[in-house]
């Protein structure tokens, strides 16, 4: 049986191979990453793209939600202040309607309600980071303006009824604003300003007008309506908190999954590396031992 006379020199190729694999393993160990190129694990590379996408989306939502929280809290506290102002207005109006007040008292009540109206107007025109929060979609213009030319005064709303929402990564939709016309409507039975304007006019002359009691009741309904709208804001706030918590825990899980997918198993790599080194030493010994003696040296 014949033998390849070059078999010892051909052993250099496997030697090169072991050195190449050592190089790759060392690179894996130093970078800590198992998959350095697409061909090393194509399925993992594809999976990795999807996982990173989800993680980054969750991250971005976490940042957005803290901005949103600020805005919703400002909305909530503005509405809270409105409720307390209106409560005060109602108690003033009620005391004016009980018939025990004289003309100058009534005029002073009118002025106090006027002051409350100014407050509520300012609250209705709350601005958060350059946007009017009760203006619907017309956030760059002051939503409520009052003209005292008529008696009772008129309040006009220059915003619209547009409602914005924020999409969570899970597909939920969180309402971000309540339009001014739904809360403070310039006209209509629930209108806060309509009721306040009428009440101011009712006591301005020093004697209660015929509609004073009806107008007080109207203000009472308006107050209830504002409280109801506040619930919408509160529910957005709690949905937001719940979504943030869910997203944060999802991100934590996905990060673990992605790390497991892409990071090198140090123990395994170290073992393979030591095997490679052993193989290399063995091959080198074989090559040097066998050498290239032939019969010629014995003749």
């Amino acid at each position: 049986m014949r033998v390849d006379p070059f078999f010892v020199t051909n052993l250099v190729e496997p030697l090169d191979q072991t050195q190449l694999s050592e190089q790759q393993l060392t690179a894996e160990l130093s970078s800590g990453v198992r998959v350095n190129s697409l061909s090393q694990d194509p399925v993992a590379s594809g999976e990795n793209v999807l996982l990173l996408n989800q993680i980054q989306r969750d991250d971005s939502f976490t940042q957005s939600s803290s901005l949103v929280q600020g805005k919703l809290q400002v909305t909530d506290s503005a509405l809270g202040s409105v409720v307390s102002q209106l409560t005060q207005a109602i108690s003033l109006a009620t005391s004016a309607n009980n018939g025990t007040m004289n003309s100058s008292n009534l005029k002073s009540i009118s002025n106090q309600i006027d002051g409350i109206r100014e407050e509520v107007l300012a609250l209705a025109n709350t601005n958060y980071q350059g946007q009017y929060i009760f203006a619907g979609g017309q956030t760059s213009n002051t939503p409520f303006t009052m003209s005292s030319g008529t008696s009772p005064a008129t309040t006009t709303y220059s915003g619209d009824g547009d409602v914005n929402s924020l999409q969570t990564p899970n597909g939920q939709s969180i309402q971000l604003n309540v339009p001014g016309d739904q809360i403070f409507a310039a006209s209509g039975a629930n209108g806060v300003f309509a009721a306040l304007n009428k009440l101011v006019a009712d006591y301005a002359s020093g004697s209660p007008s015929a509609s004073a009691v009806t107008d007080t009741e109207a203000l009472g309904s308006a107050l209830n309506y504002v409280s109801q709208q506040r619930v919408v804001v509160d529910s957005s706030l709690s949905k937001l908190t719940a979504a943030s918590v869910a997203v944060a825990s999802e991100k934590a899980q996905l990060t673990v999954a992605q790390t497991n997918l892409m990071q090198a198993d140090v123990a395994q790599v170290a073992t393979q590396l030591s095997l490679s080194e052993t193989q290399q030493t063995a091959l080198e010994a074989v090559i040097s031992q066998l050498g290239s003696n032939s019969l010629f040296s014995k003749l």
Binding site: P5, L67, G137, N164
Partner: protein
Amino acid sequence: MATISSVFSVISQALDADQAALSIVANNVANANTTGYTREVPNWQENQPIEIGGVSYGAGVTETGATSVRDNVLQERLTQQQQLASASGSRLTALNTLQALFTPASGSTSSTAGDIGSDITSFFSSFSSLEVNPGNDALRQQVLSSATTLAGDVSNAAAGLNSQKAALDQEAAGVTSQVNALTGAIAQLNQQIQSTSATADAGTLEDQRQQDLSQLSQLIGINQVTTENNGLSITTTSGQLLVSEGSSVPLTSGNSGGVTHFFVGTTDVTSQLASGGGELGGYLTARDGDIPNVLASLDQLAYSVSTQVNTLNNGGTDLAGDSVNAGNIFSQPQQVLGSAEAMSVVVRDPNHIAAAGSGQGTGDNSNVVAMAKLASQSVVDGQSPTDFYSSMVTKLGSTVSGVEAENTAQNASVTQLTTQNSALSSVNLNDEAAFMQQFERSYQAASQVFTMLDKIMASALNLGTETAVS
């Protein structure tokens, strides 16, 4: 009857034969490391015996020349495997360069720079962030910058692919002159072999021809057909004639549609060469198959994203008050082909991002909600942008790892066949030493016989008297 002088001539012929055999051994030893050299063995031919008076007398031996020990079938199998191994080898090199453009991000911030998958996510996330406060300038700037990053990375990747394609094109074109030199040399050798040794193995000339054939098969895929009188016809794997008897047909190249095409005579053989094997086959497969596939996917991604985003932007209201003509965010591609390399952001003013719906106030965010939703809609060839990119990289990775496996297997096969061939045809110094010993001994033996004959001759001449001749 055998005379002493006839025995002398037999012995001197034996000495010549042994000398010739020794020179063959010396030649083998001298050429032990010559590439392509096949070891030679001496041919011993018994001379025709002479018949005199019904008695036949042996007439000695002649050494009729050396025969190269080669197995033609084995060598042909070797060249076939070398073709396949070169093809997958050069294709693998090209693919490794190609996949380096899409190295997976490990998740750390530095690794995601330049990663198209992360760019896609950041781009659509910037729209999600804008939902919160559509009028905010900082958030709008963020949209612009993530759009610019996405467009930049996609067009860079496409440009990288195109420049790799051009480099492969040059390498492929460079193969032509080498191929022609080899086919020319083989044709000449054919002529020489057919004229000098039409019926027997041609020795050194055959060695040279095999060498040239082996080099040629590593360059392009060939089929070989042995013709009469030790001739060799060579065709490409698809049947185009390259060498026939003493003439060779040159392989020419020419530019067609921006890439180099290859011709034998007037026939365009480019696509046949791509599947035929050899280095050229590998280059052409990468240039005409692998790279255009990835480019087509990138083009599809760029086209769909640009078109969808532009359409939505043009359907909304921006901060400058334009409703339903806010303009394009990306430069609108006219066709899918080439849209990846041309992808760029054309909007300069962040106010031109139409976050609000058509006809709505500037604080509305319904249009930007729709733009953010594109991330999960099937807008790119029936998949969402991220899913499309993910399956693109998986496909590419699978292709490369498939070629890697193929190449490893073929190289192993080549090694095995080379070992078999070497075992048969390479000079084994132990064998040569043993032969040398053998021929030396037979030379010694013959010369001893010669000395003995000389003494016998002297006795015959002296006819009994010892002193006349010694």
